[in-house]
Symmetry: C2
Subunit: 415 residues, 2 copies
């Protein structure tokens, strides 16, 4: 006998389903699989000795330890907020600690922002494809999604507004990953950034800037953040319509669960109330450790990560080029963790994954999951973050071996 609570769940529960990716990734438990699937950092970069020394130092001082293991403020650890504010200042955003909220990774920031802005039926404007975790975070608040394509021609504000209104709500924000986006690895040009800000201004809505990968630039010209551009437009941070979500997960470690939001004080005050209601506060000891790690050697860590992932990216781009698959294209990321591959239209990434795992012990994420409209089935996301150069070369070769015979015909893989 099992209690059947389904009918008692809130309506939003119907929107919160296990992702296709999650189901597919269960296949990865097969040993010996070369995975280009996860978008997770390489633990070889984790500063383990520094982490260990930092915990030991904090826990060796009784008063510090007592504080670090106690409940603490929802806003976050003051010295860490101060450190982050200074980093933001160095990037052209005049942030003070009151502009910073510490979150449990930037995923929590996205969830809070969905909670703050979205009523059921409202519209969230997102890129296509976009970060699946953002869609999952927003889903609880029952939005509709519409698409923006900064730099590639957006719909007019009138059209976007009319479609949102036809759904019974309004467009509440634009969500973008401007640097080395998950899943495409692409970066918005300065003109595209200005265009995104212009659209937000026309719609009079905020932009949520997800900067998860922004620190990991290997080459090319550093672009100002949307928040920095918005601040430069005048009015300072308090008048900015950009809400910036940062994280230490891709530079130092995701294991301490420390991210942040940088925004106007009015928005931070709202988010602090949400944080308090959601989990009281992020682990203080972890925040203290993260502050020590950041103070110690953030720049050095970023330099090591950039050089590490650059080599991996180079290996993957070379391996893809070597396969010379006709009709197959891919992005050339200037940073981050991902390459995005577009196959000919008749191929299906999900069906390809099943064959790739079964026949070649290679995994990746089919791209369809990153679209809100069911398109993109002929795409795939390849992460180069975890595989060695040799695994990348061999894995891409095996993948090429499966794809090549499929390119001549129009036979669907799934058939």
């Amino acid at each position: 006998m099992t209690a059947a609570w389904e009918p008692a769940y809130a309506r939003r529960a119907g929107r919160m389903r296990a992702s296709e990716i999650r189901e597919l990734l269960k296949l990865l438990e097969k040993p010996g699989v070369t995975s280009f699937a996860g978008g997770i950092p390489d633990p070889a970069l984790f500063p383990i000795e520094r982490v260990k020394a930092a915990y030991a130092a904090v826990l060796s001082d009784a008063a510090a330890a007592n504080g670090a293991l106690q409940y603490s403020t929802s806003e976050g650890y003051a010295p860490l907020r101060e450190w982050i504010a200074q980093q933001m200042q160095a990037q052209g955003v005049p942030a003070q600690p009151g502009n910073i909220l510490i979150t449990s990774g930037s995923q929590q920031a996205l969830e809070f922002l969905g909670k703050l802005f979205l009523d059921a039926g409202d519209t969230a404007l997102v890129a296509a494809p976009t970060y699946l975790g953002a869609l999952q975070a927003f889903a609880a608040y029952e939005p509709r999604y519409d698409t923006v394509r900064p730099g590639q021609g957006n719909e007019t504000p009138e059209v976007l507004r009319a479609r949102a209104s036809a759904n019974g709500g309004s467009a509440k924000f634009i969500y973008l990953v401007p640097d080395f986006a998950n899943p495409t690895g692409e970066t918005l040009t300065l003109a595209a950034r200005q265009q995104a800000l212009g659209l937000a201004t026309d719609l009079d809505i905020p932009i949520i800037e997800d900067a998860a990968y922004a620190a990991l630039r290997f080459e090319g010209e550093e672009q100002p953040s949307l928040q920095a551009l918005s601040v430069a437009d005048g009015g300072g941070l308090e008048a900015s319509r950009v809400i910036y979500c940062g994280t230490f997960s891709k530079t130092l470690t995701p294991g301490l669960r420390v991210g942040w939001v940088c925004a106007s004080e009015a928005i931070i005050r709202r988010l602090v109330l949400i944080k308090q209601a959601c989990d009281l506060n992020s682990s203080l000891i972890n925040q203290i450790i993260m502050h020590r790690l950041a103070e110690d050697d953030f720049a050095g860590q970023v330099t090591r990560a950039r050089s590490h992932y650059r080599r991996r990216r180079d290996a993957m781009l070379a391996a893809l080029a070597e396969q010379a698959l006709p009709g197959v294209t891919w992005t050339k990321p200037e940073g981050g963790l991902f390459v995005w591959v577009t196959l000919p239209e008749h191929l299906d990434g999900a069906a390809l994954l099943q064959r790739a795992i079964a026949e070649a012990d290679v995994a990746f994420v089919p791209g369809g999951a990153f679209f809100t409209d069911g398109s993109g089935r002929n795409t795939m996301r390849l992460s180069y973050s975890l595989a060695s150069d040799e695994q990348i070369r061999a894995g891409i070769a095996k993948l090429g071996g499966i794809i090549r015979p499929l390119l001549s015909g129009t036979k669907k893989l799934a058939e």
Copy 2:
């Protein structure tokens, strides 16, 4: 110039306000105040040396450290889920690891359950007074509150159902803190527990059992948890209508942010999706540390905490008795951290707090904040967790000195 986003916020934002308590507690920053306000554990009990040794051990093994600092599963660390399942088994609940979700403190569990069950306009049935943090967690989902009084005569199911329906929703769950409740310190008798389960059965809704203080019993007979009673009624855990929220915050430390939910697998699967969308996972290294602490010496830690808080409670009850204030009554908790004081009707706890801080350097929490209907203004919550025996004696004496002159007349304090 400041961007005015207020009109863009979701409707729920209007429900998420800074609590009166939070405002009042700012007064505590005054140095030298004896605080009976916070409901937080005494750091003197934190097992600092064990925490330090546990971090050192995990971080000294490179493979373990790499894993501990990486992203991990939303469900939580498997050995910790196993340990908790065994604890639940020892309390009469046949839990398996699949029945356990690790959360960032039990506050996060409450928020997740609000998200899972509450549509706007639904009714949450709560005690009066009840834990303010639960009200804050649920508030985002725009419920109405109605009151249950297990053991003191509930409304009939028909009345509760009709009132929920009149509000356009339905009663979705009963939320209770059965052991040494925040804020009253009171414990439900076995008969009251059966009555609560009977009401939930009549309404065919779940009960959220908040067991935050359950381990801290000093004296009296151990009561079965609502979940254990429900399991004993037949059908096992999968058929149980009780969702149990536990935490290590009051026994080991709140600083690692580790709590859990124990429920049917169907509910846990739903909560895992919510966890994934909200913050991906709780810090794995903290979960590993908590598992080590729990395995090492959970029973010893609980024994020390019980004896420590028992002495503090004795000091507070003795101090209150010594004051012999006519018309003032208080609870005699058998465990936990709180004594609940009821003043004569004409006295106002919030006004009393302002005088207590200004004139006597003593703080507490006025009880009105714990009611959903504006009642209880003549009550106050006293926590004995942080003050020494001598501070308790002296602080209560000073408080008595302020209250005594007010007891003869009917003059309102606030006037």
